[in-house]
């Protein structure tokens, strides 16, 4: 009888061992982490068995940070240092957050994105979100017994580029390898579609704590194709709480409620709202900070009347999404409800009436996004099981363009384009001898630059002096599979090429992430060099595995000279990995990437040639 091998925890005798990958739903009110175990996607609970992590972060005066339930308990006592619904501030400026009404925070106008002054110092929404993500990462690593290979982090489909970039930065700051940013309704569709083996056209109606998304998807033969998406990234369950709280404030004559009062009322409003989903009437006792006791109540009819306008607000984007997909409501085979706020009965009625069919809600609306993200993460990490060869085709939610003369927007990539997508547009100079050109990148559907979101400004310099209108400046937009934009520009006529690749200005530079990481580790007392070394070693291992697999399959594509250069680079990286200098590993990784550039291109050519050959067989069969 053969002896069974027992491996050390965190090690495996199998070189092709499964990589630990998770899906994370970074929500406005709650966040979750899920993973695929034995082919089934499951939420990972905390040590007390709770699936949800309240997205609440409290900064204490002694520098400690508390995340989750404990922080949420403290929100009424320490409202200014307890950050609730931070997702609403991601990638937003001071003017944007002012629209959310009375909030108990000390906002600071920082470049690109608002920041919050806490007793532990100034914190950007990216840092606050990273605290939530770190807790989920630790939870997953503890539960799964090893370091994470990577994570899929979800974002509202209607998030613009700055909100997406901020989310990715937060994940990087939390030490996560982001395999993909995935749109929340699309994640829900994966969980739902694979669970039910569905085919047809579906509407995913996703009302979360702070965001509303509607996506129209077609599911056919293993392809999830998003036809259109729309939404409102400033509409969610929080607004229903605000409506109740402001009604009480008026009714009780609490004209100028301070931070603590605001938090207490909002927490009470939230409780009443949730209870009204099953009860006809709900009441709550609130003690204000100066001792006044209030008995607050509300009936379901009153609540529905009070918030009818908010429910109606979801139908505008729904109509637009259907219109962009060129479908009417009757053509939708099923409507899936996602997000805790879709538990409200009057919202369900409105969706039912609009589509003329009862919505599907058999998967937990709080969990379905994380479950779908975990399934995608598992596949992206390379743990693809037979039958897992489904494909996901998503779109960008908002058009991308450039400012032209007169403050008008020239659209370069229209909304609902399938990603990845690139598009180029040519411009010219308007003055004789003009040598520089200001390029202003915007996102939105309106004609005027002032009505769209400004994403980045940069200058193309070094244009050779020419008469007005002679220069041909080509500006190229590239949106990757995460829905993130990069822009480059070059002058074409004279053979002199100036080119710049911009990273939009709101994003964090690598240096800033490094600085924030350093700050975070000095607080936690961790050794940042040890952390960096561990990260570079993991990255080196995954690169070596990827190159090894590529060589095993397609080594015949390499001329001898190139092969020996790659082997030399592999050797250098292996030696560096055995050492303890993380910078040496990083530069060896970069060198190996450079050496394998042409090899990667040739391998892709072979894959495409294979696709063409496969077709010929298919044609003979027809």
């Amino acid at each position: 009888m053969a002896l069974l091998q027992i491996s050390e925890p965190g090690e495996s005798p199998d070189p092709h061992r499964r990589r630990i990958a998770v899906g994370i739903d970074l929500g406005t009110t709650h966040s979750l982490v899920a993973t695929v175990k034995s082919g089934v996607s499951e939420v990972i609970p905390d040590e007390r068995g709770r699936a949800l992590l309240p997205s609440v972060v409290r900064y204490l005066a002694d520098g400690r940070t508390v995340v989750g339930y404990e922080a949420r308990e403290a929100q009424a006592d320490d409202p200014a240092d307890t950050i609730v619904s931070v997702k609403r501030f991601m990638g937003r400026g001071v003017a944007d957050v002012a629209k959310y009404g009375a909030l108990p925070y000390r906002f600071v106008d920082a470049p690109g994105m608002v920041a919050i002054e806490t007793q532990a110092g100034r914190r950007s929404p990216v840092q606050v979100s990273a605290e939530i993500l770190k807790v989920l990462r630790d939870r997953a690593e503890r539960a799964l017994g090893g370091e994470l290979f990577g994570a899929v982090v979800t974002v509202p489909a209607y998030f613009d580029d700055s909100q997406r970039q901020a989310t990715k930065d937060a994940a990087r700051l939390a030490g996560l390898n982001v395999l993909r940013l995935l749109n929340e309704p699309t994640a829900a569709a994966i969980a739902y579609g694979l669970d039910h083996a569905s085919e047809g056209t579906f509407a995913i109606f996703d009302l979360g704590g702070g965001t509303f998304d509607i996506s129209i998807l077609r599911l056919t033969r293993g392809v999830f194709e998003v036809l259109s998406t729309n939404g409102d990234s400033a509409l969610g369950g929080d607004d229903f709480d605000q409506a109740i709280a402001s009604h009480w404030r008026k009714a009780q004559g609490l004209a100028d409620a301070g931070g603590r009062e605001t938090r207490r009322l909002l927490a009470a409003a939230r409780e009443v709202k949730e209870r009204l989903s099953s009860a006809e009437r709900a009441d709550v006792h609130v003690t204000l900070s100066y001792g006044q006791k209030l008995h607050l109540q509300m009936g379901r009819d009153e609540f529905e009347h009070l918030t009818a306008g908010l429910v109606q607000k979801t139908l505008g984007p729904t109509r637009k999404a259907l219109r962009d997909a060129k479908l009417d409501p009757a053509r939708i085979d099923g409507v899936v409800l996602v997000g805790g706020a879709t538990r409200m009965p009057h919202l369900q009625r409105a969706v039912h009436d609009f589509f003329g069919k009862p919505p599907l809600k058999d998967l937990d609306p709080d969990q379905v996004v994380a479950l779908g993200a975990a399934i995608q993460a598992n596949v992206l990490a390379g743990n693809r099981a037979p039958g897992d060869d489904w494909l996901l085709l998503d779109v960008i939610p908002l058009s991308l363009g450039l400012e032209t003369m007169g403050g008008l927007v020239e659209r370069v990539i229209p909304r609902n384009s399938t990603i990845p997508v690139a598009r180029a547009q040519e411009f010219t100079t308007f003055k004789d001898g003009q040598t520089a050109m200001a390029i202003h990148v915007v996102q939105g559907e309106r004609e005027l630059v002032s009505d769209c979101r400004s994403l980045a400004r940069f200058e193309l310099r070094g244009i050779p002096p020419m008469v007005a209108g002679a220069a041909r400046i080509q500006v190229t937009f590239q949106v990757d599979a995460d829905g993130l934009l990069s822009v480059s520009a070059r002058e074409k006529t004279t053979g002199v090429e100036s080119s710049i690749v911009v990273k939009p200005s709101y994003g964090l530079s690598d240096d800033e992430v490094a600085r924030m990481l350093q700050e975070g580790f000095s607080h936690a007392g961790e050794d940042r060099d040890a952390r960096a070394l561990a990260e570079q070693r993991v990255e080196a291992a995954s690169l070596l595995a990827a190159i090894g697999a590529a060589l095993a399959k397609d080594a015949d594509l390499l001329p001898p000279g190139e092969r020996s250069a790659i082997d030399a680079a592999i050797g250098t990286l292996e030696r560096a990995r055995a050492g303890s200098d993380h910078r040496a590993i990083k530069s060896a990784i970069e060198a190996l990437n450079r050496e394998t550039d042409r090899f990667a291109a040739r391998r892709m050519d072979r894959a495409i040639a294979g696709a063409l050959a496969g077709r010929r067989v298919d044609e003979i069969g027809r």
Partner: protein, 174 residues
Amino acid sequence: MSIPDFARNHFELLGLPVAFAVDASRLESRYRELQGRVHPDRFAAGSEAERRVAMQWATRANEAYRTLRDPLARARYLLGLKGYDTGEETNTAMPPDFLMQQMEWREAAAEARAARDMEALGHLRAEIGEARGEMLHLLERALDASNYDAGCSLVRKLRFLEKLEEEIDDASNA
């Protein structure tokens, strides 16, 4: 951001004959097959070089599919391959009878819109849709017969009709 040199044209990339007539279901299944091989999701665990090349090819596949799926974009692209520029921005000269018809439609649309007469807008939309269908048929014949000048002129006319249809749709949805 260097874009690889893609020697194949959109038709070749998707394994289709270089012609205006395209079998929509074949186009779709080939696009999906190609995307299944090159999509960045297939290389998320690959090297940086692989991920970049995958993004470029998937971008290219999306562009080819988007172009060939839409008859007008397909005709414009096919004419470009043959060295013809449809000149939709620069050449706005139209035969008088086509312009007369345009004006009639535009007036009818404006009247129906002012009167909020959705039924009239619907009829008008159907009439224009029918005219567009006939014109697409002519376009296919012209391109099959290598009559590219006629093809360019038909693309320009079709662009007019498309804009008119968009305006009516906007009015209907307002």
